[in-house]
Amino acid sequence: MKNFIWYIIIILLVSCEKQSNRDIQTENKNMLIVDGIIGSYPAKYEIKLSRSSETLNQQPVAVTGAEVIISSSDGVHVLNESPAKQGSYFTDSLFFARPGPEYTLYIFIGEDVYSAKTSMVAGYQLKPLAYSSGGNNFFQIIRPVNSFSSSYACMFKVNLNWSHLAYCQGNTGECEAELMFYSLPFVDVGEIFPPQSQQVFFPAGTIIKQSYYCLNTDHAAYIRALLLETTMNGGLFDVSRANLPTNLSNGAAGYFAACYIVNFPEQIAN
């Protein structure tokens, strides 16, 4: 009887999701996509350039041969394209940004010039994200609780690596993962009632590297829009869909940001 009731409630209340075979009309927009963050400590920062694709799951086409410059009151910095990683342009390892100046990214591709402006907010102290047991000696990162009233916005990047464990030696699955978590000063229905998300469990002994990025207002708005179109999208309470905002000019998409970045010491899950 219980099973019957459970079945009934499932069909009544729980949505049914199926693969869609419906064709959609696509077009080759060939938009320049910029994905880059410069940080607050000296390091090689990466600006990725690619093109939009016409179909879903199509690997992005890297944009090579571009001239990439970051300019600010502190000076002009030319980025170099990595020969090993097409479409990635790196600063030198001494480069860093700081709160105060406005940073302008210039990208020259043939005749086309693209630009984006950004600035950094001052950093603040946060605690690393905790993890909890997911059972069977596996763990899971606990998502930060959104207070909705915070005056700051941040994102956490969590690298998990368990490739060194014996567990992974005979395992053909993934042995590392990169997770992003956000604490934004917004309330959205999609955050409260999100679609089901991929569960990432990691075994004891996993090396956890955490860092957090302090976001300025525009960057936070961009991240919110990004989440609305990706991780918050596809639940039962979707909102109107729209293209992401951008700080890039000339029809490019993506975002160029400057963030105060804090790296936490490595942890070993146990």
Binding site: E27, M31, P60, F148, L179, V187, Q196, F237
Partner: protein, 903 residues
């Protein structure tokens, strides 16, 4: 006949001899009565001018074989009359001809005996048969249900010859004036037996009518445009009436009859689809529909995110749907008015009714405090979903899901001129989920609380008033942590006073006027923290406080017998008052500055809403109409949700940054009703232009945002359509087909590059088919099939990767559509007792979405399939995954078996 009577006597003589003979005697007794009744019910046709009453009697006798008996000294047999009847029952013909003459008939043995109606004035038969046209007198009173004493809204009373008459108002009151004379009146209402009555109008008369229900408690017309399909073929009417008896026959969702889903059968009204309480009328948005429950507005008509509607079907006495030219006293919305009247309570006897089902159960109790003077009604419903707490589903997720609602009403007839009603409604939803044991339970709760006190007063035979004080409040809580008492809350409430007056100077005019004053309070969403230290540092979104005063006046005017006009206006004045902070934005919607106001009116809006209707009764079967109306709206839901389900809702008033919305509508309609065959056909066409429609910038931040008004954009919507309906309203098979072609195109600066786009609820083709088959007194089969063009949807045209996320690039707004929606519902009802029994109970099997059509509510391009086969959003951004396009639907086939009972 003679043979039957003889057998009857024989049977009687042997009464004490055999038991079997007793049975035989009873059967024959019944049989003989039947034969007489059958003769009286035979049909005849007579067409004659200027014949004497004696000649008429002779004609009837010849055609029917019936014998008449009368005293020629008492009965004015030389009276000259005109008769024109075609295939009509003898009983009806006799009543129609004789009653105006002050004559009644009785059946004695096999004779029809004619007698003078007792109590007539001495000079009655010497007076004129026709009205003299000089002095006018008023006939007024109430229309009631004979069994329960409930007042009837929209019941017709009219003279049988000229069809001059009126309809009872929402309180059951009617009034009309006629020249002095005697009249044969017909009193009729859908689902009730038609009454014939003779009135000698030589003074103002107050008379109440009590209409008995049809023997089979099954109406012949499901959705009626208030044309009771009696001799008065079509009415001049603005509304579409849905009665509870009619609702009861529709297949319901999970066994619950749903007022919103019932409305989807009305052409021009479009619901969202499965599990949604959202509905859209003629291109209007969902917040442009005003739902009134005993005059008080119901802000959220849904339970369980929209799976169930908020009002228990058992509590509804009457529901009128106005798609345009709303009642003068019910303004404030652009698209429609749904006027729901809760049952008053049985004035005659105690009764109860209920429904036991797998998903919900409800119980109703009603009765008189004092017979024919005061009564009460109370009805409650609870969801049966609590057992989820004991299922595997909730054990893993700690899910709680529950809702209830309660209707209560009390009414008292203080005296013949005063009546008082007090009604209350409360409903609540609770949905929560424990994320971390004992630490974090989040969820949503919403509740509607409303009540009204109404006073009906009859100043004199021609002046009726209703004064109502009503209150309504809607709260929405989003609990971030129940344990810590942290929540987000929004609310809207109003307290109002309105006084309406109906003046009936003559049968050709009904003047309505009144005034309404309201105070509105809106909390656009604030966060509350249990920890006072946090609470004192959080931002506060200012409340909206407003007042509205509206005066209105209009006249319903008959010009001759064939033309009816309705014209009038409403003049609403809207005022915003403080204390509050108003943010000002520049033309690019950037914040310029803010102004703090004290307790003062800081902004005023004024509107003028004229309306005009023209009806032309082309012939007895056909009516044409043309209508124009302008409406204004001052409050709106701020939500960019594209989900069919109710979620976090914010209401905001018009003010310095939000202009009042307005709508102009032009419409024309055509209606034909045939008695044989029993069918009707209607067609309507409309054009609407909506102004200052609320729209949103991309990814608008609408919750807990002090600058929410800067997220809004304002545009216009053009809506037009054709609505067709064909129905068969009598016979074993009844039903209807309605089809609507409609478009709603929106254009807003700052949205979709300023280009026009289909509104989210634009759905060009809607088809609804209902079929009901009654086999006998016990079985009723009913089926609905509906089809809707898929909702507009914004689809991607390209993709890119950003920081591991697959990001869609959209084309123009609403550039695609979801797959078309269609669904078949079936209901099979077995009435266990015969309709004549006092205790009625029935078993009802409902199958919602019989062929399990997976009607999509969304299309997604952001999910992968995990190891368990679930569609999930990827979390590992460095992982190698393949996005799989998917569609979500919310309801498969939903069976339910309900047991319904009433006493």
């Amino acid at each position: 006949m003679a043979k039957a009577v003889t057998e009857h006597h024989i049977a009687y003589r042997h009464f004490y001899c055999y038991k079997r003979s007793l049975m035989t005697a009873i059967l024959f007794l019944l049989f003989s009565s039947c034969i007489m009744a059958q003769d009286i019910n035979k049909t005849i046709s007579i067409k004659a001018k200027n014949i004497s009453l004696a000649e008429f009697i002779s004609l009837v006798s010849t055609q029917s074989g019936l014998h008449f008996s009368y005293s020629s000294q008492q009965i004015p047999v030389n009276t000259i009359i005109n008769v024109s009847v075609k295939i009509k029952k003898i009983a009806d013909v006799l009543h129609e001809v004789l009653t105006p003459l002050g004559i009644e008939y009785v059946l004695v043995e096999n004779q029809i005996v004619l007698k003078i109606i007792p109590g007539l004035p001495d000079n009655y038969h010497k007076g004129k048969l026709q009205p003299d046209g000089k002095k006018k007198y008023t006939l007024s009173g109430y229309m009631k249900d004979a069994l329960s004493g409930e007042v009837l809204t929209g019941a017709n009373i009219y003279t049988s010859d000229t069809y001059t008459g009126t309809s009872s108002n929402e309180y059951g009151f009617y009034s009309f004036s006629l020249p002095e004379g005697r009249y044969l009146l017909k009193v009729s209402f859908v689902g009730y037996q038609t009454l014939n009555d003779t009135v000698i109008l030589n003074k103002n008369i107050s008379k109440n009518y009590q209409l008995p229900l049809l023997k089979m408690n099954i109406p012949e017309v499901l959705i009626s445009a208030e044309d009771n399909l009696s001799d008065k073929a079509v009415n001049f009417t603005e509304s579409i009436r849905i009665s509870p008896l009619e609702l009861d026959q529709l297949p319901g969702f999970a066994g619950d009859i749903d007022i919103v889903k019932a409305m989807q059968s009305v052409p021009g009204i479009r619901t969202y689809g499965d599990a949604s309480a959202n509905f859209y009328v003629r291109g209007g948005n969902r917040d442009q529909n005003l739902i009134l429950v005993d005059d008080a507005p119901l802000y959220n008509p849904s339970h369980l995110f929209g799976f169930f509607s908020a009002i228990t079907p058992d509590a509804i006495r009457d529901m009128n749907v106005y798609k345009n030219n709303f009642p003068f006293n019910a303004g404030g919305r652009l698209a429609s008015v749904i006027d729901i009247r809760i049952k008053d309570g049985n004035m005659k006897r105690f009764g109860f009714s209920g429904n036991l089902g797998p998903y919900t159960s409800y119980l109703t109790f009603e009765g008189p405090f004092k017979k024919d003077v005061a009564s009460f009604f109370i009805s409650g419903r609870i969801s049966n979903l609590n057992w989820l707490a004991k299922t595997r589903l909730s054990n893993s997720k700690k899910l709680k899901i529950n809702f209830f609602d309660l209707n209560a009403k009390f009414n008292v007839i203080v005296n013949k001129n005063n009546r008082l009603y007090i009604s209350m409604y409360g409903g609540q939803d609770i949905f929560s989920r424990n994320i971390r044991q004992g630490q974090s339970t989040f969820g949503v709760t919403w509740n509607n609380i409303l009540g009204s006190i109404r006073w009906n007063h009859i100043y004199n035979d021609r002046l009726f008033s209703n004064t109502t004080v009503y209150y309504s409040r809607y709260n929405y809580f989003l609990y971030l942590s129940k344990e810590s008492d942290n929540y987000w809350k929004s609310s809207v409430s109003n307290i109002s006073l309105k006084s309406d007056y109906s003046y009936f100077p003559d049968p050709s005019n009904t003047i309505r006027t009144g005034i309404r004053a309201s105070l509105y309070f809106m909390d656009p969403g604030n966060v509350h923290f249990g920890n006072p230290d946090i609470q004192q540092n959080i931002k506060v979104i200012p409340d909206g406080k407003c007042a509205e005063v509206s005066v209105y006046a209009g006249n319903e005017q008959l010009i001759g017998e064939k033309i009816s006009l309705e014209y009038g206006f409403a003049l609403p004045v809207w005022m915003n008052f403080g204390p509050t902070t108003v943010y000002r934005f520049n033309t690019a919607y950037q914040l310029m500055d803010s102004l703090n106001y004290g307790q003062e009116v800081y902004h005023t809006s004024l509107a003028f809403d004229p309306r005009f209707s023209f009806f032309w009764q082309v012939n007895k079967k056909t009516v044409l109409n043309f209508k124009y109306s302008r409406t204004s709206q001052f409050i709106q839901i701020i939500s960019n949700s594209i989900s069919p389900l109710t979620s976090m809702e914010v209401w905001l008033p018009a003010g310095p940054n939000i202009h009042p919305q307005a709508c102009d509508e032009f419409s024309t309609g055509y209606q034909m009703v045939f008695k044989k065959p029993a069918i009707s056909v209607s067609a309507d066409a409309y054009y609407r232009q909506y102004y200052k429609q609320v729209d949103y910038k991309d990814h608008a931040n609408l919750l807990y945002n002090p600058l929410i008004e800067g997220e809004l954009r304002f545009g216009k919507t053009q809506a037009y359509g054709i609505e067709l309906m064909f129905r068969r309203y009598s016979g074993k098979f009844t039903g209807w087909i309605s089809y609507t072609f409609s478009r709603a195109i929106r254009q807003t600066d700052g949205v979709n590059s300023g280009n026009p786009y289909p509104a989210d609820f634009d759905s060009p083709n809607n088809l609804f088919v209902n079929l009901t088959f009654k086999t006998n007194k016990h079985w009723v089969f009913s089926a609905n099939w509906m089809y809707l063009t898929g909702n507009p949807y914004t689809l991607p045209v390209s993709f890119y990767y950003f920081n591991g996320y697959s990001v869609p690039v959209y084309g123009s707004k609403n550039n695609g559509r979801l797959p078309d929606y269609h669904r078949l519902d079936i209901a099979i009802t077995y009435n266990i007792n015969k309709p004549s029994r006092k205790y009625q109970h029935a078993l009802e099997l409902n199958l919602y979405n019989v062929y399990a059509r997976a009607n999509a509510i969304s299309m997604n391009f952001n999910k992968i399939i995990d190891d368990k086969g679930n569609f999930v959003v990827p979390a590992d951004l460095q992982g190698n995954y393949e996005i799989v396009p998917s569609v979500i639907s919310v309801a498969g086939i939903i069976p339910s078996i309900n047991y319904k009972f009433s006493f």
